[in-house]
Each structure stands twice: as C-alpha cells, then as structure tokens.
C-alpha cells in the first residue's frame, strides 16, 4: 500500500489503543471495556445485516441469550471447553435465526422489527420457564472459565480475547460486505422485485444475512457465559436489544468519519462511547435511563447535523470530497 491513508492510520491507532487500554485502567474499567467489546460485536454483526440486506433485528438479545445458554449448558452438563462452546453457541443461534427469518420473510420494516423483538422476549421467557434445562430465574451457575494452557484467563486476558473476537468480527463484516454475496444482498435490499427478476433468490439472501448476524450474537453469548460464569434470563431483555440497535444506528452515523464506504469502525467506536455513557450515568441511579433517553432524543433531532459533520470530517481526513453526485 503506497498511498498514505489517514483512515487506516486512525483504525490502527484505535486498535493500538484498544489493546493497551487495560494497562492503564482498573479491573472494573477493564470489565466495562470487555462489555463494550461484546456490544461492539453484537452491533457490528447487526449493522452488517442492516447494511447489506436491510434486515433490522430487534432481537439480538435473544440470540445472545441462546449463545450464552448453549455455552452454559454444554459447559456445566457435558464439560465442553471454550472454543467449542463458542462455535456451538454461534451455530445454534444462527439456526434459531434461520427458524425466525424463514416464516417472517414477507414482513418488512417495522413489522419485521416487531417480530424479532417479540422473538427476543420469547427466548427470555423460555429461559425463565424451562427450569429443567435453564434452572429458570435461578440461572446456571458454575460455568467454567476459558483456560489457556490449563490456566484460567485473567480479567485482562478476557478483555483481549473479546477484543480479538471483535477484530475478527470486524474483518468478517467488512469482507462479507464487499464480497459478491454482499453485492447481491445490497441489490436485494435496494429493490427486491428487480433483484428477483434478475435471478436473485431473495428469500435465501435474506435468511442467510439474518443467520450471519445471529451467528456472531451466539458467539458473544458464549463469551459472556464464560466471563461471568453465571447465566440468568435477566440481562437478555428487550432493552439490551434496543441498546444494540442504537449502537449500530450511531455507528452508521459515525461511519463516514473513518471511511467513504460503509465502515464498521463507526459501530466499533459507538459501542465504546455508548457503553461508557450508560456506565458513566450510573451515579444518576433511577434517572439514568431518562438522561440516556435525552441523549438519544438529541441524537435523533440533530441527526442530519451529525451526519454532515461526520461526512466533512471524513473527507477532511481522507483529503478528498465524496464522489458520487455527478451529472
């Protein structure tokens, strides 16, 4: 790569910063950073399904839960170790995603979102009531931690593991978006009727895009189970799904700062920002969500300005104007 790319430099600094951050902060903060990375994975994979296929899911928490419970059950009942629990968690969540997407293919926009949100709740309620498998509200305790060379990971090492998965997820999303498959998905997103008369199998594209996002949610769920060694239905609520969706929305606003293409770095950054914002507002106690809501409202109100600012910052960094509006 001969040309100097400021966007790439920013990405590199961001990555470097993410790697060294646990050295400078407390263990508590490292845990928050870990949560930020998990949110980043959930949001980046969701962004991918939105960007390439227009599949907006509000049920990420449900698939996250499926991954977490899969890992917890495999670990406590069968003694299965870490890399496999992640894989099974991801695959099972992807299968659940296929099961959900297939019958709801005809639903669009808001209706599809409502269906996925309901699905997320259904998963939580199943976890709450299927006591034989999940121990209901008691949750599953004693999930074994991830070990490396027979030694359990420290809090910092958990963070780096999560960061590594996030980076892999980032490259996965970028790669898929620019692949031939991504191009077909984007065509379908823009006009599914035109896509179908051009030979695109629209149902398969939609379902597969949803499944990819669910796969990553399942992997993060398994990471979660190992990190906290305890899984209960409480955290996997609709609120979490909404937070993930908001992260991905803010991410798409921030994206143009870093790259002219749809970039998932914006999502990565917005996951860090919003996770810390939620954490930083804890001192407000019961007013926390009110302030968070206010922040969201401001974001919506000033969305065009934020977008324009992000664009101009982006072209400033990359030293050229956005092309595309010729003629």
């Amino acid at each position: 790569m001969s040309r100097w790319k400021p966007g790439a430099a920013i990405s590199f600094l961001l990555l470097l910063g993410s790697v060294i951050v646990p050295f400078g902060v407390s263990l508590y903060a490292t845990r928050v950073w870990t949560v930020a990375m998990m949110n980043a994975i959930l949001a980046m994979s969701l962004s991918m399904s939105i960007v390439i296929a227009g599949v907006v899911s509000m049920g990420q928490a449900g698939f996250y839960a499926i991954g977490a419970y899969t890992a917890a059950v495999l670990s406590t009942r069968l003694g299965v170790g870490a890399p496999w629990t992640l894989l099974f968690g991801g695959v099972l969540a992807a299968l659940a995603g296929i099961l959900l997407a297939a019958p709801s293919l005809r639903l669009r926009g808001m209706y599809f979102m409502l269906t996925t949100m309901a699905f997320g709740e259904v998963v939580r309620l199943v976890a709450l009531n299927w006591t034989g498998l999940t121990h209901g509200p008691m949750g599953i305790a004693g999930v074994q931690g991830i070990t490396i060379f027979g030694r359990p990971l420290s809090v910092r090492e958990y963070y780096w593991t999560t960061l590594l998965v996030a980076v892999i997820c980032y490259y996965f999303c970028e790669f898929i978006s620019r692949s031939d498959y991504g191009l077909a998905c984007k065509s379908m997103r823009d006009d599914d009727l035109a896509a179908s008369v051009l030979g695109m199998n629209v149902p398969v594209l939609r379902i597969s895009a949803a499944a990819l996002a669910c796969f990553w949610a399942g992997i993060v769920g398994a990471l979660y189970a190992h990190l906290y060694s305890f899984v209960s239905p409480t955290p996997f609520n609709a609120w979490l799904s909404l937070t993930i969706l908001v992260i991905s929305m803010l991410g798409s606003l921030l994206g143009p700062v870093f790259s002219r293409r749809a970039s998932y770095i914006g999502t990565f950054v917005s996951a860090i920002v919003l996770t810390w914002l939620l954490e930083g507002l804890r001192f407000l106690q019961e007013y926390r969500m009110a302030f968070y809501g206010l922040f969201m409202l401001l974001l919506v109100v000033f969305q065009p300005q934020v977008q324009a600012l992000a664009r101009s910052l982006g072209s400033h960094f990359s030293g050229r104007e956005r092309s595309g509006v010729a003629a």
């Binding site: 620019r178 692949s179 984007k186 006009d191 051009l198 030979g199 509006v325």
Partner: protein, 256 residues
C-alpha cells in the same frame, strides 16, 4: 422462443388479461402496443413471474415456465426492465451490472462470500462499453439522469446474458435523439448479440421502424397481430386508439 397460450389474469372483477395468446420467434424484435390500461405491463408481469395467471400457460424455449418463480425464469434466460426504471439506487451503475452478471454464474452462497469481483475487469466492463455507460459507471444510480437510468436498466438486464429481453417502454420520456440511440442499440442487441426482444412502447416511430411483428392489446384482449403495415391499417386497431369513425370527414385523418 416464447409461447403464451390463453393467459387470463383477473384483479378482483377486472379482467386484465383475457385469454391472451402470442408467439415470439427467435431473432426478432416484437412490439406490444395498446392504450393505457390494456394489460401490457400485466402481461410482462405474468411473463417474468411476478404475477401468476389464473389460466393459460407460458412456454419459454420449449419449457413450461408458468409456475416458475421469477429468479428461475431469469436463470433460464429471461430478462426484463420496468416501466419506471428500478435500478439498485444506492449502488453504482457498474455494481448494478456486475450484480446481474454474477447472478448468472449461479455460484453457491458460500463461494460467493469468498469471492470479490467488484475490482476486477471483465464482462461487466464489456457491457458498460457496449451501452456507452463508461462516463457514468461509478455514479450511484439514484443521481443518474432519467434517460441514462433507462439505458442502465437495459444494460443490467443484458448483463444476465438473456435469450429473451422484455423491455417495458424503453424510450419512455426520452427526446428524439435519445430514441434514435436506443433504436440503434436494440438493433445491435438483436443482430450482434443474437438476443430476441419483446417490447412495450408508445413511441410509434420506434415500434413501426424496429419491430417485425406487432401485437395490439386492448382491454386485456389480443386485438391484432401482424407486421407494422398490417397493424397500421387494421380497422379494429384504429378504433381502439381513436374510437369509432363517426363521419366521413374523419376518415382523412385516420392515419394521424
């Protein structure tokens, strides 16, 4: 090439297509004309599989495709454009054409996730060259001028390497010069690429000069079929367009 037999399509009480039969021979340009609401676009929707007819059959290259979903018809070699251009708006012209071409490769989902053809030179560039779309290839379709959109849509349909091209009003809204350009293109598509064309058009100069066979639809009925000369003198056709002749003094203007 294409054999439509007794196709009937109803929307509630409205009969959009009433027992329509027509044949398109390979290597020709055939036109469908008719007043607004006569069922032309409905016929195209039935042919491309967007609508299912209540009765009748559609045969394509000797195969019955009446029940095939749209994407399988496309893979069989049928491509179409829409009356209002339906390009993939956020993608560039090149990406539109590439997406269509890649679809023809019918690779598995997994292998497509690994492949990245967007940067490579290839068939898409030939198509862009053929249609003279080079100056617009990196422009997002949403910001293209209307005439170029129509052209890009034909290019996208051609990128799927079809045997039969269905064009729904290809020169709708174009000026005389652009119409002439499209006429040349259509002839080149037929002669150089060997693709059969079935088109719907209101522009009579195009229809009369380029089509070997013309079908006239009126109120869902296939009113007449024949060469431009036959059609332009057919009593029923004139009646469908201009109404019944009521006085001797109107007969002088019947050709207008």
């Amino acid at each position: 090439m294409l054999e439509v037999k007794g196709v009937t399509k109803r929307f509630g009480g409205l009969i959009a297509l009433d027992n329509v039969s027509l044949t398109v021979r390979g290597g020709t340009i055939q036109g469908i004309i008719g007043p607004n609401g006569s069922g032309k676009t409905t016929l195209f929707n039935v042919l491309s599989g967007i609508l299912q007819p209540e009765a009748g059959s559609v045969g394509f290259k000797g195969q019955d495709i009446t029940r095939l979903p749209p994407y399988q018809r496309s893979r069989a070699g049928l491509a179409r454009t829409f009356q209002q251009a339906r390009l993939f708006a956020s993608l560039t012209v090149r990406e539109n054409i590439l997406a269509s071409y890649l679809e023809k490769q019918s690779l598995s989902l997994g292998s497509r996730m690994w492949k990245r053809s967007s940067g490579q030179k290839g068939y898409a560039d030939e198509v862009i060259e053929f249609f003279g779309l080079k100056p617009f290839q990196e422009t997002a379709c949403v910001s293209l001028p209307y005439g170029v959109q129509k052209l890009a849509e034909i290019a996208r349909a051609m990128a799927s390497k079809p045997d039969l091209l269905l064009l729904d009003e290809p020169v709708n809204g174009m000026n005389a010069e652009e119409v002439k350009g499209v006429c040349d293109l259509l002839r080149r598509i037929k002669d150089e690429l060997g693709v059969t064309i079935l088109l719907i058009e209101h522009n009579m100069s195009l229809v009369m000069s380029e089509c070997q066979v013309i079908n006239v639809l009126s109120s869902g009925l296939n009113l007449a079929e024949g060469s431009p000369q036959v059609i332009s003198t057919d009593e029923q056709v004139i009646e469908a367009y201009l109404g019944k002749r009521i006085g001797i003094h109107l007969s002088a203007s019947k050709k207008s």
